[in-house]
Amino acid sequence: MLLSPLALNRWDFDAAAHLLVRAGFGGRAEEIEKLHALGPAKAISSLVDSQPESFEPPACADPHSQDELRNQLREAVTPEQKQSVRKLLNEQFRYEMSDLTRWWVTRMVNTRAPFVEKMTLFWHGHFATSGQKVRHAYKLWRQNELLRQHGLGNFADLIKAISRDPAMMIWLDTVQSKRERPNENFAREVMELFTLGEGNYTESDVKEAARAFTGYRIDKDNQSFRFAPAQFDSGLKSFMEKTGSWNGDQIIDMIVDRPQCARFIAGKIWKFFAYETSDGKLVDALASELRNVQYDIRPFMKQVFSAQEFYGTEALNSQIKSPVQFFVQAFRTMPIALPESSVLVFAFRQMGQVPFYPPSVKGWDGGKSWINTATLAFRYKLARQLVEGIDPLEIGLPKPLAMDMSGIRPATTPALLVDEIITASDRQQPENVVEKLFVRIFQCSSKFELATSFREFLSNRSLPLGDATIRELAALMMTTPYYQVT
């Protein structure tokens, strides 16, 4: 069985909006309208075929940024000296990490290829690597670029690239792996979390694969992958019932050859972009599509976004926005300014998702786990602040600011620029104001009954509607369960 595409007569404004919000981070009414007018095939292609744009690199984009302090640490004699150099290293790292986070968020907000960033976000959660252990912003940035570069190509190539990625090599200990004592961490996770899922390999497969992923080292001169033949175990390995002197790439080829790999990856992609399903037939169909295109992610994603199930009742408004989606969507759909990096990182932490800091190699659980009483209360507070201007004090940013090297408290961001979205004549027509805000905020047409409540809210206000009233309405829309889902 293969997937069946969405019937043309069901391609409407709301279907286009759903596509834009899931394949990207949503958009303004004009963008949705434009996508709708293209028809499904061209709309999907306009998103999926877009190429990564060039973008100014982050502050950490220098492989040698830690060199000076590392040298100082080596030369430090007394414990006090060492401690003070470590403190500087730490401060530099934290500064670079919060800058890197803001760099990526800025990219997600401003890019003309939002699908590329969304897919990068998916892979970041899939190959979840954390600064907690990697401790080098440069390497995490390189990994992020790797995911962007390879994330829409062939899946086997992506896994091979990831196996040589310095951040991953530190994260899952391949750099520590020795011929005599292979480290099993990467070998296990590459099967358990990246390709097959638990129960689809044996402990002996893990041990044998670990031997194949030896000899992976990082070149200190340029912080890139280096193969160390002396550390590689070139002996015979018996992996998944095949014996040979396998290397890491050959192991990956054998893994990707397993039908289970297609099921695992296709199911996970579907969960991220559409919804979590226990429908075995649907997963089989998705897996067949993935194999039919020889694991080429770009054509596969076109199939995903064309499928009628992608637009079905199980998909629409069923997904709780991740904190990243919550944030980026707000900035892409409304004229509000991005706060400083320390505020951004703080807000992500309060909501339970700091990019580059997944809680474990499993990534973020997502779905309902995004929401507890604390994270929801924070989302509501933040939503109101996004509209009225983010006051760091008001959202609870602690002082002193370890993140901010200057020690100056970040400024309050400007409030939502009402004039950019509501015209003078709209202010005389409350239903226009509801319509315009509703589409931006909920990413669907205001034909839904929910809009009635907001019309009533404005019904006895004096005209023309002032900025304060309009911001109040926007904040109200955003402090609802409905705003938390897409």
Binding site: T313, L316, Q319, G352, S360, T373, F448, S453, T480
Partner: protein
Amino acid sequence: MGAALSWTVPVFIQQTCTFMHAQALDSALQAGTGRDHPVLVVIQLAGGNDGLNTIIPFEDDLYFKARPTIGIPKNQVIPLDNGIGFHPSLEPMKALYESGNLAIIQGVGYPNPNRSHFRSTEIWQTASDANQILTKGWLGRYFDNCCRGEDPTVGVVLGEQLPEAFNANLPTGVAISRPGNLGFDRTSDPSEAHLFSELNGLEPDAMSGDSIGSLSGPNDSGLSALEYLQRTALDAQVSAERIKRMLRSSKNEVPYPRNQLGSSFGLIARLIAGGLPTRVYYASQGGYDTHAGQANTHKRLLSEFSAALVAFCNDLKRKGIFDRVIVLTFSEFGRRVTENANGGTDHGTAAPLFVCGGDVNPGLYGKQPALDKLDSGDPFYSIDFRSVYSTILDNWMKAPAGKILGREFPKLNFV
């Protein structure tokens, strides 16, 4: 567009309320009134507390050999029993020990110890084996098993985030970072407040009464994302109102140290006294990762800790509720026996922990780890930390420990 069309507010609210009412009826396995049930307070000493400089084997030459610069001189140690004693910063806790309110469990750890902060914390939080990944926390599993249908404030965290130990099937647990910051911002505009309540399924009149006892249903699996969100919004609102009310009705009877841990302990005492139906409180103190220049840092941390703990105990005694409360401390690991070249210690394994309360069986439990028999530089554990959890769950919380922890662990008798 069927799903989207169901964004019909009144119907949605009606369904959710019916659902919750039905859940409330068959819930409450361990309903707490807030006045009589046992309370557990968990204090995380984050970063890996140096156990060997907390409970010190001051008569063991190997201790001084391993720690020529950071070892605590014999004449400064506060002797307890069996050749071990307190770090001088724990002086305030001596009275607790002597009055029979403190149990010290020595050599607590687990097999195949992991020396990563992150992973070892996860192991302690989820009560897993070293090679096992569990997604639910040990306290979360307690909530799921014993507190279904309870008020979300069955677990309260002083801090910004719920710890992994609270991960549960249910959205259980409330985090308080600043009491002034609880729940949702109220607007002064009544029509706006009204619409906010309506859209979130909150009934403003019902909020302040005692009538709402059981809100969280037993299982979220049947809830759609929207229903789940609405229920969490209600939980947040109700618990915020309730906590504010408790805080208004209760004061601290003794001064607390003016630091984060002190104010966390102070708030916990007020919430217990106020009658919040909470079974588990959780707070943490960070900074124990003393790789370098340990002496001063550790001295300061332990002073803060002991002063706050003792204030808390005295406050509870004055309030007459000390018998209802136990405090459990833990840290993800102890530290290496031999000091490093930076006047600090690196990540280790087994370490002692404290259990403190009006109704504990005091004294020393377990063996002080032998310093002549080490596992790559670290002491072997003698008590599995899950034995401690198991004892607390079974003997103190009256909960089925074996079911919650996945298997039976030998119990101790400190409670």
